[in-house]
Subunit: 456 residues, 2 copies
Amino acid sequence: MSKTTIPYKIYLSECEMPKQWYNVRADMKHKPAPLLNPGTLQPMTAEELSGVFCTELVKQELDDTTPYIDIPEEIIKFYKMYRPSPLVRAYCLEERLKTPAKIYYKFEGNNTSGSHKLNSAIAQAYYAKQQGLKGVTTETGAGQWGTALSMACSYFDLDCKVYMVKVSYEQKPFRREVMRTYGAVVTPSPSETTEVGRRILAEHPGTTGSLGCAISEAVEAAVSAEGYRYVLGSVLNQVLLHQSVIGLETKAALDKYGIVPDMIIGCAGGGSNLGGLISPFMGEKLRGERDYQFIAVEPASCPSFTRGKFAYDFCDTGKVCPLAKMYTLGSGFIPSANHAGGLRYHGMSSTLSQLYADGLMEARTAEQTSVFEAAEQFARVEGILPAPESSHAIRVAIDEALKCKETGEEKTIVFGLTGTGYFDMVAYEKYNNGEMSDYIPTDEDLQPGFDSLPKL
Amino acid sequence: MSKTTIPYKIYLSECEMPKQWYNVRADMKHKPAPLLNPGTLQPMTAEELSGVFCTELVKQELDDTTPYIDIPEEIIKFYKMYRPSPLVRAYCLEERLKTPAKIYYKFEGNNTSGSHKLNSAIAQAYYAKQQGLKGVTTETGAGQWGTALSMACSYFDLDCKVYMVKVSYEQKPFRREVMRTYGAVVTPSPSETTEVGRRILAEHPGTTGSLGCAISEAVEAAVSAEGYRYVLGSVLNQVLLHQSVIGLETKAALDKYGIVPDMIIGCAGGGSNLGGLISPFMGEKLRGERDYQFIAVEPASCPSFTRGKFAYDFCDTGKVCPLAKMYTLGSGFIPSANHAGGLRYHGMSSTLSQLYADGLMEARTAEQTSVFEAAEQFARVEGILPAPESSHAIRVAIDEALKCKETGEEKTIVFGLTGTGYFDMVAYEKYNNGEMSDYIPTDEDLQPGFDSLPKL
């Protein structure tokens, strides 16, 4: 199909939007390892999990055989407010790079939460409402997930308590106000409001916090209050399931124009975007229908895929959560304070970890100055100010497009542009002022995290 | 046509995008009064104007007879990166309001500048580039225009010098960083870098600045440097021409589904969005083809349409610019520091002023707490955090929808949602904390501004 017939932005019509989520685990030969009860070290049962999560979400968490799960009507209705998201052909970027590669990005930032997180937030809030709960608790790092959940809870009139990693709380005061505008209560973590928070503050006075620590607080806040459950924006199987809407839309848009990607690139923190984006394509690969190259990109300063261990670990710092088998830097790992690019979680989705262990996908790291360089280059030609997280994917997409320029290959590259950087201007300012530096942890730097791994 | 057949978001396809701008002046019986030379008080000639503006833009500024003007290919290409913008059916808002009214909004915030301003910025940068200029200078208030122009200049490799109203510069440091990310040089106004800035600082030490003052500085910076011209984001005829793309897309989207609006509502600062949105509909009204109700909404604290005088006035505080005939509060008017909602300009587009004087449109004021109340209500159900400016239109759209609820009328309401509020969280915080107050100037408060009007 000739260049001119492919528009800058491919939008699906409403009737082309997915009606079902796709559960990639159903097609995996090696299923992701189950969550373990931290007390008994036995696989968590549905009953045990339902003290923490909504019942329907527990069902989704444990279901590794059903390939397609209906999206409830109420959620489809909400999706229609900000979806389908555009699949954009990066004509201007291609032109600047003078590359024969064809670059597409699935842009998930055109909603107030500024990222893809809303796709799962609305689903989790919906099931909480269905179950007659009063509210939910959660953690947030950069604030995208907390904002998304606040929006979703406000839509369904649910209480929303957000524990926000302290460093982000301080660097991103405006994020807090967006959440408050949607009615959420936001607490910097670690805080004095929970037992685990008080313990962590006593052990590490002056800590800037971590996602793992905020998770512990949010879980405690949920289980110690009547009518509350905990919700999580990444890592979990249920989240990847909801996020499959990204990949399903991407695939439908590509299919519409007969485009077959050679490689699909996504940034990876806990894996929610990457897992969602690649799911249906990975399904084809798992079923032997078609091969694709999948590339996860993570920060050099938080390299769970590339330098972590594939082991059972706690999902949180306070060790109150179930254990998950995943690529991990250890629940005690806290990224360098110098790190400004998000994707700070110590572990990685069990599903993606299994796929990576099975050699079905690759992973690369990127250093933050080169990530912001790519962000700026992209912003100037494509007109979107990307989130630092998303810019990890941009970095590798540009690198791959430049390789094509050398080899002359006309590869089709698809990457996930997960969100916008409007609330990351402190980091951009640092970059603009030439004050940003890189940090690659030494093996010794990583050792304390590995020492925190449970001995099973 | 039944409700179910109209999607939440109506997107035009690329081939349905406008290829020409519409010049509403061509259909006006009473043409807007010409700009006057501040020295001679005679209409500005093309030659005189071309010292300040690009030659092609001067032509557009003065042309009040050509109804359609081709959009250059390069601009259409840029438009395709972020346009067409969606026309959204506010199903969720309608449901919450329990109104029989049908509410649509044209959402111009899905681009990094966060507003419709990019539509004219890219056009003005294009013509500057065509003319072989080195760069352009401008002023910005809330920062939307400055951001838009920075993006446009970066795309065409033009220098961009932005004078930013000091109060916004201080309240919105992140805006400055977005502009810097796009390579612009941003100076808080009034500044010591221009003669007029120094004079204003001497006369009003401690002033928080005004758009009128920043304009003076930007004009001086342009005319005193080789290869620079001044560009403006609102008020001018050329800007309304470029912004007609909003109205043309809106009309095409409505026509596609056979929808005829009863009323069209837009916020009004200098008039760029409102003028652009209503242009093609106003054209129909002017040609006697169809009648619509047009409503301009302005802040109660900066009421140029509703309480200003229709007179020749300076466009800037420093009185270096041509005089325009418009509804004005006087170039000496500076809104109360308490005012957080944007739309701070003392005057109003000459074109809109003439249409208002001829009774072809209405104007209303809104107080800022009620504007933020509408903003929050909208954000919670429609999922978009609106700019305070845009929220003036939301306020009146909600008011009108509630009237329909009382009368049972099924009116079709279209309003312009000009942008997003991500950089307005200081104001939202004030509102969230219950610290926002209203301010309606007394006649005495307005008198100094009127005293600054030139005696012709």
